[in-house]
Symmetry: C2
Subunit: 457 residues, 2 copies
């Protein structure tokens, strides 16, 4: 009736304005909720309590040059014909949302479901063939030591907060150090490959592209730019993962029983390069396309997951939901690791560094000496984080120095304090540098030794 009075287009404009106002209100509300959530972080009583970053880490939305969608059949409806049943992720038809909303003025074509790329079903075979033909690019560096590619990145634009780029620089130096010590290669991304998957979802097209381009890579290790290595001596327990394909920090109970939105963390995870990974990415992606799909999916996630504030769908919540609703499909190849800090929420770690130095040593990777300290919510690159910016920056400096000290000690130096950029000498130069004490075994770490054979150069 309203339409008849004021015209169809005006009604749509009013509806759109109302939605935008609602989103603005929800964002404000979300900020308050997160702050409350942060203050109550100790509620669960576990040593690892995470709060994830709730807004776009990395990329501003950009227009995409060429359409890349291909026509792919949506997942079949389940037998009782219940479309868009939130209990069944696989039948969720995000397409329907776009059609219902009459999205003809949006790009791209709503009649084409989003896809990360052409469906590939024989990747294990393709990859296996390639590895056979290319023995000089082995997927294992040594027995029990897979070839790993650590993937991270940030926006190609300068940070809105001028000091943000300095922290990105320190963060990548920190990763360079860990990876050099552990024989891991790095890919630093600054390109938005798919405008629809901007923000935290940008990692999905990137990961797929890298897996398919690098069959020699056995494990891809995604790591957020706001996560830092704080245990330079800890080597991942690769043997533990020989039968799994996805490793994330988290807890089974919190994901499968509680569907808690922070039951796992996608800021630092391992993904094996195989068909299963491609299938997982395809199953994970549908909630990602920005705009209506991501918004509506966000509402579902807030409703279905425990403790989740209201905001657009993020990759982490989507992963919790995917695993919790399709445990039979994925669960046996997913390892939720809580034995060490593959991801460590900074809030419960950074005040303890001095205590750790007093009582422990590098190599534990866990609460005694965390492998990773992850500054979720700090957002040093943007203008507004979830925490006071000074506190974040100060703690990021401390975490950086905590890790850096472990590198400097190889060379006989250390930071004057965890707060200081300056270094001091702690071991005199000698005429026999190769006899220097190498307490942590990091000067020539076993992790990166090559296999010794009898052939000569």
């Amino acid at each position: 009736m309203l339409e008849k009075c004021i015209g169809q287009q005006r009604v749509r404009r009013i509806q759109r304005a109302a939605r935008q106002a609602k989103i603005t209100f929800l964002c404000l509300f979300m900020t308050v909720v997160v702050m409350r959530g942060m203050l109550g972080a100790g509620k669960f009583g576990t040593p690892a309590q995470d709060l994830d970053d709730l807004t776009t880490h990395f990329y501003a939305a950009r227009k995409h040059g060429e359409p890349h969608r291909v026509l792919v059949e949506a997942q079949p409806e389940n037998e009782n014909g219940s479309e868009n049943d939130p209990k069944n992720y696989a039948t969720f038809d995000f397409n329907k949302i776009l059609k219902d909303e009459g999205g003809e003025e949006e790009k791209p074509d709503p009649n084409k479901p989003y896809t990360l790329g052409p469906k590939i079903s024989d990747w294990d075979e393709q990859r296996g063939e390639w590895l056979k033909r290319n023995p000089n690019f082995p997927n294992f560096i040594r027995e029990n030591k897979p070839r790993v590619l650590l993937v991270t990145g940030s926006s190609p634009k300068p940070c809105e907060n001028p000091v943000g780029d300095h922290y990105l620089l320190k963060s990548i130096k920190n990763k360079i150090d860990y990876c050099r010590l552990h024989g891991i290669e790095i890919f630093y991304n600054m390109a938005l490959l798919d405008a629809e998957m901007a923000g935290f979802w940008a990692k999905l097209p990137l990961i797929r592209k890298l897996l398919l381009s690098h069959p020699e890579v056995e494990f891809l290790w995604w790591m957020d730019s706001d996560a830092m290595f704080t245990d330079m001596a800890f080597e991942l327990p690769w043997e533990r993962y020989k039968d799994v394909n996805l490793v994330m920090h988290g807890w089974n109970e919190m994901v499968y029983d509680q569907k808690n939105w922070i039951g796992l963390n996608t800021g630092s995870f391992l993904l094996r390069n195989n068909q299963w990974a491609l299938d997982l990415l395809d199953a994970w992606a549908p909630m990602g396309p920005k705009g209506k799909i991501r918004d509506e999916a966000g509402k579902i996630l807030t409703r279905e997951l425990k403790g989740r504030p209201v905001f657009e769908a993020d990759d982490q919540s989507a992963m919790v939901y995917l695993l919790a609703t399709q445990r039979d499909t994925w669960g046996n190849k997913v390892y939720l690791e809580s034995g060490y800090y593959l991801h460590g929420y900074w809030g419960i770690l950074v005040d303890k560094y001095e205590e750790m130095i007093e009582n422990y040593h590098p190599g534990f990777g866990d609460h005694r000496w965390p492998l990773v300290t992850h500054f979720v919510g700090c957002k040093p690159c943007g203008k507004f984080g979830d925490y006071p910016v000074e506190k974040c920056l100060k703690q990021m400096d401390r975490a950086f120095n905590f890790g850096d000290n472990q590198v400097l000690q190889i060379y006989g130096f250390t930071h004057k304090s965890l707060a200081s950029r300056r270094v001091k000498r702690v071991r005199n130069e000698t005429g026999n540098p190769l006899e220097a004490k190498d307490d942590l075994g990091l000067m020539h770490p076993a992790f990166k030794a090559v296999k010794v054979d009898d052939s000569t150069m």
Copy 2:
């Protein structure tokens, strides 16, 4: 007589003020001279004309914690007893300068000559023994492929120019990409190891420390933070260097005949890990200690080298002087490379990128497709460069994108233009990613293949 009238201390204060005024005037003069020099860059008629950075690239001066000098005999005077003969670097007694100036209020003790560390004379033996005992850390990755460590760095402080850290970030990503493709490891330094050797001299203590800590490294490749890789496909001609220990971009005539201060460039060079390198570092270092020594040495260099403006001693001028005055000692192990741009002065390259794309392809490394574009004088991190800042930043973006395109094309993308951060797809996704055209051979470059042997994992 003046001293009797107004007292010895006042005389010294007046002298010091006069020296400071003189230095200020000289700095202003130097800026003018550099600008004139830059405008006249085409004078020599060679395709590679460099102007080097004239002020401190990297580190602000910091106080040093512990003294590390050891008492070392100054070089013996030559036979005719001419002390401080500028024609003979080896007899230059920098100590004398400090004594003459009555530097008792300066630190450190002027009675102790500066040294990079305890003299080591058997490094070849120590290193050789270590390599024998550690065959799992070979100094050659493959036949003709030495293990290389690329060393670079920047200040631990945020840049004074807010956008400077963003360019440091892009620069290290650029290096990460080249090194990943070429099987080279990276060390990113942010620590000032020796306060006396601040600024451009800071690389010397760092290089020595890394050589001695990493006997497995065959070549150390120093690269300035303002230098970027612009040819991702070019592999250094290692065979060419099998009998030399130091490789720098430069020209024999300009160094040995003209003693031109820009006859070589120390912003990107290779140094083999052996006794010769330690001896060279020891011979190179004496002009470096900041304060009077560096100032006075600067005057000598200005007087002795062609075209050098007046400013404190820099490592590059000192190298020219060292080689020109001691060719017999060092020359046979130094390769001044002008066959490709191990260092390429940005001023003559950046306007030609479109022409290069039109006419050539990656892999040449030379004027057709420069390996390195080096933004000498731009100083994006500081407040004042030698060139207009907007011009520098714009060209640094172009150089970055020029190099980045070569990485992106592996994955089927490219920048929308050399000025644009945005990327576009240039190759469709397929179901057979391993059959994708890899024009530059960078997807699985031969440079990083491991040696194939018969042993099984």
